[in-house]
Amino acid sequence: MRREFYSLILCKPFLHTIETSKLRCTQKVNTKNQNYFELFDIHPSYPVEATQLDKAYRELQIRFHPDNLKPTGDESASLEDVTLSSLVNDAYQTLQDPVRCLIYILSLNEIDVNLEANTIADPEFLMQQMELREQLENIDEQSENVEAEIEHFASTINQSVEALLATIPHYLTGLKVNDTVKVREFLMKLQFLIKLQQEIDTKLDQLDDL
């Protein structure tokens, strides 16, 4: 299920634009100089408008996928196609994922969110995270309706993630280019919860393996 957010158009001065020629159908894609928004020829916004993104992705992939460029028999040409098709895939996967997309937009604005080098200073949040993890661990795998319990737990976490994601546009609008601490802390929190979502999935996978 694609998450729905209310759209926010980033103000121009914020988004660091790179001077490039726009993509045209007959033109070769200049991968080095185009950012992902330019590649898909869509307006930079957060969240990205899903219908437009999907449509642009399909069109580019139909043009560049190696299946549609065969058969040339020319090894070097097919290598080039793989590169373009891969780039389109990576760009799409970045823009449609709320967190990766946010990090990408920040990086376009030269805000490097080096998450590994940072720690969260909010003790209340950390305490809450520890409790949540304990809750997950304490779900009895032998119990009759273990799956329902996990699903219930998952839905509360999903709601927290949705709530955090919904505040992103608010962060971005007021953001100054050198104002990174706030964003970092926000992203760290988000990643904590996403990690927890992954752990829930792993737990469900393990149940299936039993």
Binding site: M1, R58, P66, D67, S85, S86, D201, L204, D208
Partner: protein, 620 residues
Amino acid sequence: MALLQISEPGQAPAPHQRKLAVGIDLGTTHSLIATVRSGKADTLDDENNNPLLPSVVHYSSIEEPLIGFDAIEKSSSSAQNTIFSAKRFLGKSFSDIQSSDLSSLYKIKEHNNVPCFETTAGLITPVETSSEILKKLAKRAENALEGSLQGVVITVPAYFDDAQRQATKDAAQLAGLNVLRLINEPTAAALAYGLETQSDGLFIIYDLGGGTFDVSLLELSKGVFKVLSTGGDSALGGDDFDLAIANWFKAESKLETLSSRLLRELLQESKRAKESFTSQDTALLSLTLEDGSKVSQELHIEVFNQLIESLIVRTLRICRRACRDAKIDFKQIQEVVMVGGSTRTQLVQSKVAELFGKSPLTNVDPDRVVALGAAIQADRLVGNKTNKDLLLLDVIPLSLGIETMGGLVEKIIPRNTTIPITRAQEFTTYQDGQTAMSIHVVQGERELVSDCRSLGRFELHGIPPMVAGAARIKVTFQVDADGLLTVSANEEVTGKESRIEVKPSYGLSPDVIAEMIKASHEQAKADMENRNLVEQRVEAERFALALGAAIESDQHLLKPSEKSNLEAQISHLRNLAQGEDIKAIKDAIKQLDANSKHFAALRMDDGIKSALVGQSVDNI
């Protein structure tokens, strides 16, 4: 629903302009080949109108390998030389096989880190065995289509890892085939069902074969088929149903251990019973024991269903996981497609229907559906169809990563990522002045390297000496549209390119493959010589016998010296026939033939004379 695409009149290229392309379903138990003719995909059958070629190869020391039903015939007399299910060995390392139950089936030897079957024809790799099957099918197609093949699409199970895919491609290369694309079996099935002509939506392909289970979740959106997630179990299939019945039979009949021959018979009996449940409710199983006594049991379908329920539940869990990976709900699924012979089982169909809340599609023959889909894709890729609106976007089934400090896996490309894809990640040195780095590529979902599949190791040399943590080594993973991985690494700080590219694969480097292709040509030559030798030996023996018999019966025609001379030459010929020198045998036969001409003429005269004795002139 339109099952197959039919070309509009006038749009189908004339037959002679069409490029010949085929789809091959290289299966564990049997393989098929199909092509698109006059806009319709169809399997190409053998001379008995059977599309299925058993995936069995029999090796012998003097003849070329036998493939399919011919090979099966030899299996009871020469089990070690008859290879079944080579697909299970493809892309596996020696230790992989040793730790599985596959090792008990054949004499497996390690050669250059590749497991080989030890046969009378020498050490044979699983790649070579698979290539024999491909060659046999390609020949069938070339005969039927009267031309050489431009390209093939080969299907692989969606859960196949990089090494298994590479091995499949190697087998095709060895068979001299041009691989247009490797596609996943469930994706091929979706094409065969013509799902692209349906309205946009989500589809799930449930593929339960003899030995494996595979599931793929696909999204169709305006002509683009995108695989959202895949899952499977490489050791779960219809064979397990047979095994469950066999175990039930043993328990009911209080049979402890059975000889391997009896066990095989019991499994055959179980398979027969399983298949009969598609049309009846009870099946009688009987087994004649070694002491001649007969044991019989009646199995009711209710009991059968209980026996296999837990197995089916396992497949349903894998379906649920695939849905979870794609973050979708069962209720959103528009159609469920059934693939594989084991989906004929009633309980499989009803359980799947129950899970997804709709009855699954079963109208294309589940044995042929994968090959048909592969043929459709081959036809497109070779350029027979100009329609570019249909596109297949597949995913990698298992995460790819590298080993980091402490034996942990750093995932670089997560599972279910759309391919082709290129992802890079930076790493650094951990010692001052470190100039080399070892890169270990792994595939799998687990955290520890030891729990994942090792795909290959390589070293990056020539990193400029710097303090620990200062170097920036960019490791790039590139997965192509066949799902095959290439890894490269370079040092970025100094801008100095110390780059290395590695194609991880199990044991078979491109050089080895090239050598094997060369060897197979030589082998063909050697096979021919072998056959010549055998023929000359037979000829020599036939001639020696005939001449010996003639001398025996007509020795009165020969002087003693002539007789002993001919006899000496016969024994000389027989001696030569023991050897390997084809020309010497041939020459000796010729020589003896010439030298015995006189004797033959004498016999002829004698024969005429004796025929004339006592006859009057009038009677002649």
